[in-house]
Symmetry: C4
Subunit: 488 residues, 4 copies
Amino acid sequence: WHARRRFPWKLLLQIVKVIVITAQLCLFAQQRYNHVNYLWDTKISFSHLFIKGWDTSREIQVYPPADGPLAVYKRSDFFEYLDYSISTYARIREEAIGSYLYDYDKNGSVIPPVLCISQYASGHAFIQNNSYILNDNITKTCVDIPPSIANGSDWSVKKFLETKNITFDFDLLLNTDFTFELRTIKLRVNLPFDTPECYHLTGRVIFDNHEHDGQILVELDVAARVLECDGSIHLASESSSLKVWRTIMNILSIIVCVVSLIMCVRALYRGYLIMQSTVEFFRRYVGKPLTVDERMEFVNMWYILICINDILIIIGSFLKIGLESKSYEGFLDTWNVCSLFLGVGNMLVWFGLLRYLGFFKTYNVLILTVKKCFPNVLRFSICILMVFAGYSLCGWLVLGPYHLKFRSFSSTMECLYSLINGDDMFATFSSTSGKDPVVWWFSRIYLYSFISLFIYVILSLFIAIIMDAYETIKKYYRRGFPTSDLLI
Amino acid sequence: WHARRRFPWKLLLQIVKVIVITAQLCLFAQQRYNHVNYLWDTKISFSHLFIKGWDTSREIQVYPPADGPLAVYKRSDFFEYLDYSISTYARIREEAIGSYLYDYDKNGSVIPPVLCISQYASGHAFIQNNSYILNDNITKTCVDIPPSIANGSDWSVKKFLETKNITFDFDLLLNTDFTFELRTIKLRVNLPFDTPECYHLTGRVIFDNHEHDGQILVELDVAARVLECDGSIHLASESSSLKVWRTIMNILSIIVCVVSLIMCVRALYRGYLIMQSTVEFFRRYVGKPLTVDERMEFVNMWYILICINDILIIIGSFLKIGLESKSYEGFLDTWNVCSLFLGVGNMLVWFGLLRYLGFFKTYNVLILTVKKCFPNVLRFSICILMVFAGYSLCGWLVLGPYHLKFRSFSSTMECLYSLINGDDMFATFSSTSGKDPVVWWFSRIYLYSFISLFIYVILSLFIAIIMDAYETIKKYYRRGFPTSDLLI
Amino acid sequence: WHARRRFPWKLLLQIVKVIVITAQLCLFAQQRYNHVNYLWDTKISFSHLFIKGWDTSREIQVYPPADGPLAVYKRSDFFEYLDYSISTYARIREEAIGSYLYDYDKNGSVIPPVLCISQYASGHAFIQNNSYILNDNITKTCVDIPPSIANGSDWSVKKFLETKNITFDFDLLLNTDFTFELRTIKLRVNLPFDTPECYHLTGRVIFDNHEHDGQILVELDVAARVLECDGSIHLASESSSLKVWRTIMNILSIIVCVVSLIMCVRALYRGYLIMQSTVEFFRRYVGKPLTVDERMEFVNMWYILICINDILIIIGSFLKIGLESKSYEGFLDTWNVCSLFLGVGNMLVWFGLLRYLGFFKTYNVLILTVKKCFPNVLRFSICILMVFAGYSLCGWLVLGPYHLKFRSFSSTMECLYSLINGDDMFATFSSTSGKDPVVWWFSRIYLYSFISLFIYVILSLFIAIIMDAYETIKKYYRRGFPTSDLLI
Amino acid sequence: WHARRRFPWKLLLQIVKVIVITAQLCLFAQQRYNHVNYLWDTKISFSHLFIKGWDTSREIQVYPPADGPLAVYKRSDFFEYLDYSISTYARIREEAIGSYLYDYDKNGSVIPPVLCISQYASGHAFIQNNSYILNDNITKTCVDIPPSIANGSDWSVKKFLETKNITFDFDLLLNTDFTFELRTIKLRVNLPFDTPECYHLTGRVIFDNHEHDGQILVELDVAARVLECDGSIHLASESSSLKVWRTIMNILSIIVCVVSLIMCVRALYRGYLIMQSTVEFFRRYVGKPLTVDERMEFVNMWYILICINDILIIIGSFLKIGLESKSYEGFLDTWNVCSLFLGVGNMLVWFGLLRYLGFFKTYNVLILTVKKCFPNVLRFSICILMVFAGYSLCGWLVLGPYHLKFRSFSSTMECLYSLINGDDMFATFSSTSGKDPVVWWFSRIYLYSFISLFIYVILSLFIAIIMDAYETIKKYYRRGFPTSDLLI
């Protein structure tokens, strides 16, 4: 009872939908990439400007990292790093290539950067007789450092703190933050959709001594807020008309999705009506109620899929319109949510196309095979998950301290999952070789048994299950499908 | 009705063709490699000479890159880099190991290097009150820098520009190019085919500030033009006779291909004639017209394959002769096209050999299996492509800003395709872990579901499809092939 | 005869066990990670402080390593490195960020660091006439270096040794150790389970010249001993109540395991009784003794599995209680053993859950398949092991000197095993290309043949064996299982 | 007709052989590793001492390399590098940690190091009018540099060459070699088999300008010759008795192999006799000659395998005895050949064990399957090789200039072969993206089509072929093997 006569309309709608949604996604992706990239580059620039020991090899986020963490290990180094950050800030206008300016408060005076020191309230370690006093309440002392003071060449943080009577005990130190605020206008109009934008940037150079293990980690954090911006601009390109296009795109995609949603809901409702009458019919003439499984056959899962993706895209599009129209704050989070809705929605739209391929017999074989083997694959996966969980927990506990990859539980799972698929195997072997022979032997047995079991036995079982389903379906085609009660 | 009696001649021809074409390809590949390698090495040398912060780790093009982009972040650094490039140029003859000389114009005076500055026409950022003026027309100011001036040790670009009254506003700066021209003669005669060659090299040190995000990217670009060159040379080896050999090779391969082409066209034409008469026969005596499929059986796909490769190689060989005989300009592009023709042609020649293996029964099984499963594999691939497209688009949008691999759409596809085949999995997992928990969870679900679906389900289905075809063919061999109408 | 009526109790117990044990494991893993991480970070800090040429890229343990070994090659460098270590030690209190203090002996005087030099007793190389005298007894000279002496800026080890009349012959030198002792208190209370801890750290800077090949390897070794520690501490969080929780956890897991152990032993014993009476029955009425295989059917392997994991966890938990309660010394080893017991125990608990899934028919198919194909897979594995051993030994011998991966026998095995699974193949190819053409050709043939054989033939055979088992089991389900004598 | 009654003796012999040969191989591998490792470490030490810009990251031979080639790009750098090498040599005794001494000639005077300069005989590049004169005969000028002269701090090569009237034209320069000779005695007796050894080392610092592309590659080459060495040594361990053990090992393995060889030859000869009589029998009574295939059934391939490995090991053992007994020169090559014989021999010994597993029925299934599918796999491989060759040649030509991996033909093959097995895929994709869009598109189509074809189609076909063979063999077991004429 596939509604064969009406299908061209729906198919056409779906194809239009795919095109419209994908076009919109491409536009959005580029737009978003620009924003994120600008922030990332700003962070890199700040790292070069405000962190003394910064190195370009730290700009690439790879596994395994090229270097150990950026940290200071000597007291003198700590003050040097801090001086470097503060003096750069004092001369930011002359030094930096980007055009950064201090932020002013409402009175027109510069908002000075703040140096905050978190320490344990009090305490002392009497190492000689293995005893200590500690009050683990945390006190935070903050001090403003006006850039005009810090500009001189012989200025130093250490002296400055001494004049301010701030004691500084490395044994109790938890955190030192240098927070500064800057404003900038991005005068970039390369791409069609670009207009200059005003940002309020808050930078924090963090010296983290929470671990108290002899190293103070150095980190830079940049937060950006987009400000409303007036500007007279003479543009060679017609960016305004492009803005109109973008709005048309948004509206178009919402309309298409709403239409598609309505049609699917109608179809689902019709299916529900047919089910109702069939149930009635069975109850009266066959005398046997329909099982849940048989009732589910009236609910077309494809329609539900389409409904879901329509809803996702409509929500995503509205979020997108919101992001584009007004000046937003709390930058990255909303963008992430919006892109998640649009992205997943678009993915499901593409999956939905498979339904229309299923109308051709030869394609249908494959879809039916997947459908057929699905429950078995799922059941099998549950069995495997138990084994996998056992291995993961054990590996995490025993190998965790000796290997980067086994540090956290999620990373252990990812590592083992990658090993199953033949990735990074030798590197894992070679770096799990601690000095302790117990661990060494354990890691060998653990890895060899895990990999052999999963690659040779479990992967083969998957193939067996799926081939079995394929052959069953092929037999059905030759000899007819098993009839259910509904098809008498 | 395979023409069994005539086959040895054609087979012999094909074998000769494979040998000749492969030999020619090897010669060409070596010749080409030399040229490209010379240019690459020249670029490396120039990078060392003209870019201040150049590092040998930047010479290796790998994924993931060892360092972040080469860029300057401070105004002082920018001028230092520029001074370094210009002063090296001024002393190139004494400093460089290669023998580079300034280019002279027709009057015999040195062509001076040019420093060009691209800026927005006008504009200013009033950061205090979040407003700006911008005219995004681009003005380009160029100034010659004669090497004789720049030779002094206390010369600096900054002062020079001031004397020339060129204003330099980092806020508006888009691009700074330092373009210089050099000549060189490659006095290398190591390899049999080498003769000294004269090059005109144009170097450009580019300082790119288009992004306006606080970093100016530094890049070097070298373009080479081959000049006609006279020279008296006393060679120990007999390079002239080798030149003759090369020409013989070219002619030989063209002749072989032409002969092969003629024979294939004749065979195709004969097939066409037989088809004509069969159609006539069927129309008259069977009363049933032949379907397109049945007609296609008369067209031997192998002959068409051979025709295509012959044509490709003939075109490639003519291009090659052209490249070798005259002095060429616009170096790399023509070479690329030529190598593409020769390469693809040669690849198809090798594929064509499979046809002759098909004459043996046992080999034929395999070829028939591939032929049999081909339509199913294709159909299945279309289904998969939909799923793949959905995943790619979604991943590109959501993960793009957080991971190098998902930056562009094509690279997202490559990344996902590699993941299917078990490559670089853990590294992808570990570097998609942004700080945002929404993105983190999405990336985990996305990657686990994608990999599991493709590796465990889809790969197994491929195996099922192909095994099915294989068994069908084996049954045919045992019980006879299904007869078509043509074989009564 | 599965004891269907009693099963819910046991299942419930097992589920409770899984939850309790996994929770305990998670707590333990975090606790352990903290300890090991603290030690690792301390080692990094010491490396920065005591080794002159230390570089952050050495902090990442990866394959392949980023740098060659840390070594000195010049005599002057050797003394510079040594001076650096000693002078850092002399100023450790002012320089280091961590709060380290010298260790004092019972008289209250500083325990001075010791410089030990191991040399061959005597010997000389008369290189001119190719002869030598050598007495390979090793003499070890140790000298105390009080930090107060070494504090001056012009102090140097070389002069100091001369004043002490210690001769220093690089030709005979085997080892130079600089051993120092420090105390520290870790004032970290970030995490709920953290309390300040006192450590006694023994650092050793080792200059290793055993190889006598022109390079002296430099290494740092840190050993930690936990000391008993008194301290008055004002904690914001209620760590004491957490301590109680931890103890409850320990006891709970032991109780659960003991109960589970008792139930399993009882069930096994009951099985033994049934077996006894069956044996009796058969002997009397059937007149045929039971074979060992038939007897084994009464022993439920699942129960044995559960017994093993119970025992492992009970031992592990007791070890854990020991580690937590008293002040321990000999830090890492006991922790490793304890985590091994808990980890393996927990893994087996998870595996044990599979048994209860086996009660459902559809799940049972998979478990039966694995059981069915197990002997064949094992037999096949033995065949493969022979081939694998042959390849490993041969590769180790021939390629060992040319490639990092083939250095040791175990690493050769790991390399080959990784290659089978498609890992790191090109890198292996490209780095086994020594200069010697014999080795080059051998390595090519070796690698191509090995990989092709294992990936294409052996992996396929595994799939064949497992599919065969799967189909057999499916047939059994359709047509009934083969009856054994026991089921008349 | 397997000789069941005699088999235990042979099996025992083979097991003894495996143990003896493997033990010997382990000893030999360790011995050899020591030698090669010593040389490698010496090379590293010399690199640090004699090459100015040497960096530890160059000591690791990996793919992809961490840095570009070590080269000089400026004339001043060239002379600095050369000065560094020569001055190090002049002060080698004081500076180096290893104990190196100058080599003396028979008169007792130091053999001075030699600086050789290879240049084109004459030539000049008139870059202004694009013409050149070149005589490509190579003249080599050598000059001795006594270490006593070069010791001063203001000594420089440049001045020295001027005083010697040696002209130095970078345009004509091909090669500059600095060759020096040193002697050393390795006073290492760590391992049981170690005795001090005397080496004559020849170092060459090579400045290679053959490419004439602006960079002079810098390389170091070390050759070692073992000299006869007298020495009085007081050893704590009993190395002499170990020497005896080593000899016993050698003799034992030769004896075992000879016995095994004799037995196999006898068995083969007996097989030949049986064949003869069968042929006679068939000719007389059946009247039908035996085919070659049927005759081959009398030749036991296992015996031939054993014969081959016996011969290989006997040759290898004799080579080993030779290496151990006398003082050898031409160090590495003989060792390589010897290890090749022993390694391959040992590998085949292990393979030979499979034969005895074949006596058990269940194991035999697998061996028979491999035997059965072997011809099909081979035939299929030939088909694939054609396709592979086509792809390799084409990729080499077109992508060669743009990617490290496609530089040489053999490396292209290795790259493609690795890609098939899922290795290094994304890295290959990401680094084949040249600027030229033609090449970009070609590389995408090329890689996607290649990988998809090989992984999805060809790998599946392999599985199909092998499963087919497995099922055939299983059927044989159930229904009996097909009878050949010989088994009437």
